[in-house]
Structure formats: structure tokens, C-alpha cells
């Protein structure tokens, strides 16, 4: 088991700012993010315009998720019982360390199913799972000599580069074909090409060997159906199907909030998720997995394990950020966010970036991540686009409040606010301060704008001008106006 601290990024104010600065200076990233924003948002709008009763469907999706969370204990028990009735096994993990240990034990036990004489390291074929990023699973398995291969094309690429995914849906959103080509040339001796189809074919061939020799397939779960014990996985590439069909053992990893009550509810959620994520009516594949291979079936995994992970979710459920647990991880709020569109996923230093990620990261991982909530304009675009209408801006404010309550903002901010409080407490002080400010900006500025302020105020003027204070404050003008009026009466 790993003894590293759970997360290393995101702690210091300076680190977050530095990552933002790096992202803003990266022209390739800027182009990629702009393109992601344009295509995804436009596509999503078209997809919803074509959905009959789109708004009512969103309401219903929200109601389904609310119902699930409001009785989460009951639905979890029902789900676990249904999975076991289907022949699967359910494992409960209170935190990341326990989840890692459960999976490690399961993977090592799968050695018993190997063909005799195979001596290569245990091999895990993985399809996309944000939970595995959250619990840093690959790291934990690799530390025990297990080989883990990400099989989603985008994840495969970022894994080869030693990076985390940069987006919930499009993990390699930050890369151009040139970089992928250079990577494949270096790792697989691919002849130089910019042909995306060729690169995809190469990845297909590499990964096919992995699917057919893997000891274990590990997948995430989009939804678990309490009524039937079914795991729903939506994918386009087919890697999720291969990971859950070919290896003799399938381990499905899910956050314990990821349930819906019934099959009919699942159908509603699956109208929303692909439209919101990729502007598709339905993805190429919707896999509904109910237990391992039955005796009468010709293929499929011999064992199915479901690992239910809490890792802070139960605590979040009782707090002001509970609504964030409604999230179905479609990524739409990332695509539409003016801040995410500038800084991308890696800047957040958490597996969950963007608007919802700023809330979820603070909720799950604590105050080390509460600063992320400052990276928002509170414009509300995320709330408007969210398929289950999560009120993200309000929760961002809650996280900001927690950040301040924890005493985390830098000292100059606290001092500044105290000074402001002192000034505002008395009309006389306020009047004086107004005069001083008007005088200062009058001296520093030209016309109505100040181009450069002295430190620490240059944090503002480095990137934009500051409006000069009016030479004659409103209070004075009001007094003159009132006096004039009195005279004319």
C-alpha cells in the first residue's frame, strides 16, 4: 500500500497560481481548449434542442438523482443485494487506502487463474474510471509490480506521457496530433505521420494484445441500478466492453453515490448523459452488466467484483455540498466554463477540475482544495448547462466561505479586509478615503483609467486597467443636487 500523502498538488496558493500561469502561457493548450469549448457547447445545444421534452427530462433526471441520494442507504443495500444475487461480489471501501488494498488483493488472487507457466507480471487492462484517478490506483498497483494499461485511447496517450487526464470526457484534450505522433514514434517506433487514423490503428494493435492477455479488467461505472444490480457503462471505443468481457476477472470501481433506483430511471439518465457529454443521442456502446458469466453463456468474465468507495462522500452528503453528489460526470460544465476554457484541467491539481471539480475536490479532499473555488467568475453558465441542474455557483460560494473560515487566504487579504472594514464603519473615514482614492488615481492615471498601480495592487493592473475614481464623489454631487432641488421647491 502506498504511504504517500493522498494528493500533492493544490496545497499552496503559489502552486495553483503557478499552474495557472503555465497553462496561460501554453499556446497549444489555448488552441485546444478553445476548440473543445466551441464544438462541445454548440453540439450539446443542438443535441438538447432535438430531445423531446428536454427540460422536463432534465427535471426528471434531477428528481431521480435526488431521490437516490435522499435514501442512499436503502438504495445501496438494495444494489449490493442485487449484485450478489446475480453472482457478483460487493466490497465496501471507506477510503482510498482501503479501496487500493481491496483491489490489490483481488488482482493478486487472479494469479490463480493464469494459464500454467505464465511468468510475466500480472496485467490489468483498465477502461476509464475517474474513481481510479481519485484513489491513485495505478500508482498503488504498480508499486506492487503489477502492470496497468489504460485502454481508452485518450487515457492511453496521457498514461504514456506520465500525465493525469486533463478532462472528464476527453483526457487528451490538451494535445495536438503532432505530440501524439512524436510519442508513438518514440515508444513504438512508429514512422512519422500526422494521420490520426494511422495512429489510432497502432494503438488498437498495441491494446489488443493487452485485452487478450490481461489477468484482470478494471472499469469504472456510469450508473449502478439498485433494482437489478446492473452496472451501466457507456463508451464509444469498445475498450470498456473488452475490459469487462475478455479477462477472467472484472473489477468495477464506483463512488457509492453513483446509483439510480430502477431500470426505467437508468433509461432517463442515459438520455441526458451522452447528449450532455459528447452531443450524442447515445454512445456507440451502452453495456449493461449484471453479474459474471453464467454457466449457460459461452463467454464473459468468470468473476465480477464491485468496489463501492466512500472516500468522503458520506461526509459530503451531510454537509452544504451534498448537491454536488448529484453530478453524473458529463463534463458539460467544464466545457462551458470561461475559466476552465483558459486554464484547462491540469491547473486544478485535482482529478476533478472545472466548476464541479472545484466543489467536489473541496468536499472530498478538504480545505487543501478550497482555493480552487476562487477560480470562478460565478457567471452561472455551469448551472445553466448542467443536465441535473446542480447549483454550482452557490456551492462555490460555500467553498469560498470555508476557505476563509479556515484562515487560508493570504495575510495581505485579511489585512486589507480589516482596513476596509475600519474605513466603512464610519461615514467620516469613508469620505476621507474616497477623497484620497480619487486623488491617488487622479495622480497615477491618465483620463479615466489607471494603467499601472504600485505593488501589491499591480496584481490587478498587470492584466487590465483600473478605472479612476470620480474626482467629485457621488455623495458630494448628491448634496449639490439635493440643495438645488430644495431651492427650486
Amino acid at each position: 500500500m502506498t504511504t504517500d500523502p493522498p494528493r500533492t498538488a493544490g496545497q499552496s496558493h503559489g502552486a495553483f497560481k503557478a499552474r495557472i500561469a503555465t497553462a496561460l502561457r501554453n499556446p497549444i493548450l489555448q488552441v485546444a481548449l478553445d476548440r473543445n469549448h466551441e464544438r462541445r457547447v454548440a453540439g450539446r445545444d443542438l443535441a438538447f434542442a432535438a430531445l423531446p421534452a428536454a427540460e422536463a427530462t432534465r427535471d426528471r433526471g434531477r428528481a431521480i438523482r435526488l431521490e437516490t441520494l435522499s435514501h442512499l442507504d436503502c438504495y445501496l443495500e438494495r444494489f449490493a443485494a442485487s449484485v450478489e444475487r446475480n453472482g457478483g461480489r460487493v466490497h465496501w471501501a471507506a477510503d482510498a487506502a482501503e479501496a487500493q488494498q481491496i483491489i490489490l488483493d483481488l488482482v493478486q488472487a487472479a494469479a490463480g487463474r493464469r494459464p500454467p507457466g505464465r511468468t510475466t507480471p500480472l496485467l490489468v487492462a483498465k477502461s476509464k474510471s475517474m474513481m481510479s484517478e481519485e484513489i491513485e490506483l495505478n500508482h498503488a498497483l504498480e508499486a506492487e509490480g503489477i502492470r496497468v494499461v489504460e485502454t481508452d485511447l485518450g487515457e492511453f496517450i496521457v498514461q504514456l506521457r506520465g500525465e493525469p487526464p486533463a478532462h472528464l470526457i476527453t483526457p487528451a484534450v490538451h494535445l495536438r496530433r503532432e505530440e501524439v505522433s512524436a510519442l508513438f514514434a518514440e515508444r513504438f517506433g512508429m514512422a512519422p505521420t500526422l494521420d490520426v487514423a494511422h495512429m489510432t490503428a497502432l494503438a488498437r494493435a498495441e491494446l489488443r494484445r493487452v485485452f487478450f492477455s490481461a489477468d484482470v479488467g478494471i472499469s469504472g461505472v456510469n450508473f449502478g441500478v439498485a433494482e437489478t444490480g446492473t452496472l451501466a457503462l457507456i463508451t464509444n471505443e469498445g475498450n470498456g466492453r473488452l475490459c469487462t468481457t475478455v479477462p477472467p476477472v472484472h473489477i468495477a470501481l464506483m463512488g457509492l453515490e453513483r446509483l439510480v433506483p430502477t431500470l426505467a430511471d437508468l433509461e432517463v439518465m442515459l438520455r441526458l448523459l451522452p447528449r450532455s457529454a459528447t452531443a450524442q443521442k447515445i454512445t456507440s456502446y451502452v453495456s449493461l452488466l449484471s453479474g459474471p458469466r453464467r454457466a449457460f453463456e459461452p463467454d464473459g468474465p468468470e468473476e465480477l467484483h464491485v468496489v463501492l468507495v466512500d472516500n468522503g462522500r458520506a461526509r459530503m452528503l451531510g454537509g452544504a455540498l451534498a448537491e454536488a453528489l448529484l453530478c453524473i460526470r458529463c463534463g458539460a460544465c467544464l466545457n462551458v466554463c470561461p475559466v476552465f476554457t483558459e486554464i484547462g484541467g491540469h491547473a486544478y491539481g485535482s482529478p476533478y477540475g472545472g466548476p464541479i471539480g472545484s466543489v467536489v475536490s473541496a468536499g472530498l479532499f478538504g480545505s487543501d482544495f478550497s482555493e480552487l473555488a476562487n477560480a470562478s467568475t460565478l457567471c452561472g453558465a455551469c448551472r445553466d448547462i448542467c443536465p441535473v441542474r446542480i447549483d454550482i455557483p452557490t456551492m462555490l460560494l460555500v467553498v469560498r466561505g470555508q476557505h476563509v473560515a479556515a484562515g487560508l487566504p493570504p495575510a495581505w487579504l485579511r489585512l486589507g479586509l480589516r482596513a476596509w472594514e475600519w474605513v466603512m464603519a464610519q461615514p467620516g473615514r469613508y469620505r476621507l478615503a474616497q477623497r484620497a482614492a480619487a486623488l491617488a488615481t487622479g495622480l497615477l492615471g491618465r483620463g479615466n483609467w489607471v494603467r499601472r498601480l504600485p505593488p501589491p495592487l499591480n496584481a490587478w493592473t498587470d492584466r487590465r486597467d483600473f478605472p479612476a475614481f470620480a474626482a467629485r464623489p457621488f455623495r458630494d454631487r448628491w448634496k449639490i443636487r439635493a440643495a438645488g432641488k430644495a431651492k427650486s421647491d
Binding site: 423531446p52 422536463a56 426528471r60 428528481a63 435526488l66 442507504d73 443495500e77 442485487s82 465496501w92 471501501a93 471507506a94 494459464p115 500454467p116 481508452d152 485511447l153 485518450g154 490520426v196 487514423a197 494503438a203 488498437r204 489488443r208 485485452f211 487478450f212 441500478v225 437489478t228 464509444n236 471505443e237 469498445g238 475498450n239 473488452l242 468481457t245 475478455v246 457509492l256 433509461e267 432517463v268 442515459l270 443521442k281 447515445i282 454512445t283 456507440s284 456502446y285 453495456s287 449493461l288 452488466l289 449484471s290 453479474g291 458469466r293 449457460f296 453463456e297 459461452p298 463467454d299 464473459g300 468474465p301 465480477l304 463501492l308 466512500d310 458520506a314 461526509r315 451531510g318 448537491e323
Partner: protein, 232 residues
């Protein structure tokens, strides 16, 4: 009972009791009825074909008697003489597999052994097979989707590890949408039926990705070609 189970459930109950911040859950709204569900069979089939073709799949209508020779010809064109197939009782065309065998095509699809070394040896063989032949449980017009359930004589890989997937169906299999199948498909579409088999997959067009520069590429891990054949 593992300790974490009770610990986690206890925490959740505590959280829900001590004033959850969740808004009260509104009553579930009535579902939107799609107009397509009311349309006649022919328009549903043509919608199915359009949707599938838009995504790069192909659609074909064939009289039952010609299905065997048509399929054999397809295989010949691709230089293929081995297929991974569902067993005859699971296919809607009587005698289809015999028709292939008569033309010298090898039909594979018997159950994998559960244990090694048999399991991986047989999988290694299946992996090389280029064409898969299946039936369906239902097809959905609104999205151009095929619904395939695992079951006796129905290998999951026949629609997955191959390059070309050919699925045969009849007019009886056509529903407006997944929602319509759930509402009108009877026991076969129910939650019990779902739980009774390890897998139900909804397949919509060929495998695809847009992970590199959002450039659409077809045939990543699953089939590059999906051919849906309506047998009349």
C-alpha cells in the same frame, strides 16, 4: 459482514438524519412520449436505417431465402472463411449457419472453457476471427441501435472482437426507442430479464473515438463495420 459496510452505511444514515442540505425530491414527472412510438412499422424501419447510416453503419433488407447466399458472398468479398457466430436457435434466419458451412465457411462460437489453459487458448483463436454473426433482442429506430443480450449460444465477442459485425433481425424486433421497448417489450425487456443474463449491450454504429484532436476515427477497439440486416 465486513466492518466497512456497516461503518459506511452508518455514516450515510447519520448524514441523512442530521439535516441533509438536499432539496426535497419532487415527484417523478410523467415521461415524454416520443412521436415515433406512434408511427407505423415502415417509418420506424426507415428511421432506423437513416440513423444507423448517418453513423457509418449499413442497412440491408433481404428475403429470408437469400440471406445465406448473400452472407456467403459478403464473406468471400472480404476473403474470410471463418466466422464467430451465435448458434442457430438464436438467429432469426433458419438454416443460416448450415448455408455457410455448405459453402466451406467454418463457424465458431462454442462455449469457452471456464478454466485455463483452455480459456485463453480458445480466446487467442477467437481474436483472429474477422467477422461476427448475431441476432438481436430488439432494434431501436430513434437511435439506430441494436440490443443484444448474452445467453446460451450467444457469445458476447461475436459483436465485439471482430472487424465486421453482421446482425440479423425481423420486423418483430423493431421498437421506436429503448424507452418504448421497456414499456412494450414485455418480459424480455424487463428488469428481471436484464438481471438474468450477464450482459445486455446496446450497439449504435461502429466503434469510434475522437480522442486525438477531436478528429472522428472509426473502428478503435470494436468493429469498424456494423451491418444490420432486416429479414423479411
Amino acid at each position: 459482514m465486513p466492518p466497512s459496510r456497516n461503518f459506511i452505511l452508518g455514516k450515510i444514515r447519520q448524514a441523512l438524519k442530521t439535516g441533509s442540505h438536499l432539496a426535497p425530491s419532487p415527484a417523478v414527472l410523467p415521461d415524454a412520449v416520443s412521436g415515433l412510438a406512434q408511427a407505423d412499422a415502415a417509418s420506424q424501419v426507415s428511421r432506423f436505417a437513416t440513423e444507423l447510416q448517418t453513423l457509418g453503419g449499413s442497412f440491408q433488407t433481404l428475403p429470408q431465402a437469400q440471406a445465406g447466399s448473400w452472407l456467403a458472398q459478403c464473406l468471400q468479398q472480404r476473403g474470410v472463411n471463418e466466422v464467430l457466430a451465435w448458434e442457430q436457435p438464436a438467429l432469426p434466419v433458419p438454416g443460416l449457419l448450415d448455408a455457410l458451412r455448405e459453402r466451406g465457411v467454418k463457424v465458431v462460437g462454442e462455449a469457452l472453457p471456464a478454466a485455463e489453459p483452455g480459456r485463453s487458448a480458445m480466446l487467442a483463436h477467437w481474436e483472429t476471427i474477422k467477422v461476427g454473426i448475431t441476432g438481436v433482442d430488439a432494434v431501436f429506430a430513434e437511435t439506430g441501435s441494436l440490443a443484444l443480450r448474452a445467453g446460451p449460444g450467444r457469445p458476447r465477442l461475436a459483436s465485439l472482437s471482430v472487424e465486421t459485425h453482421v446482425a440479423f433481425f425481423t420486423a418483430d424486433h423493431v421498437y421506436a426507442s429503448w424507452a418504448a421497448w421497456l414499456a412494450r417489450g414485455g418480459a424480455a425487456a424487463s428488469g428481471e430479464a436484464l438481471a438474468a443474463a450477464s450482459n445486455l449491450t446496446l450497439i449504435t454504429g461502429p466503434s469510434r473515438t475522437a480522442d486525438i484532436e477531436m478528429t472522428l476515427t472509426v473502428g478503435v477497439h470494436g468493429p469498424r463495420e456494423v451491418v444490420a440486416v432486416l429479414v423479411t
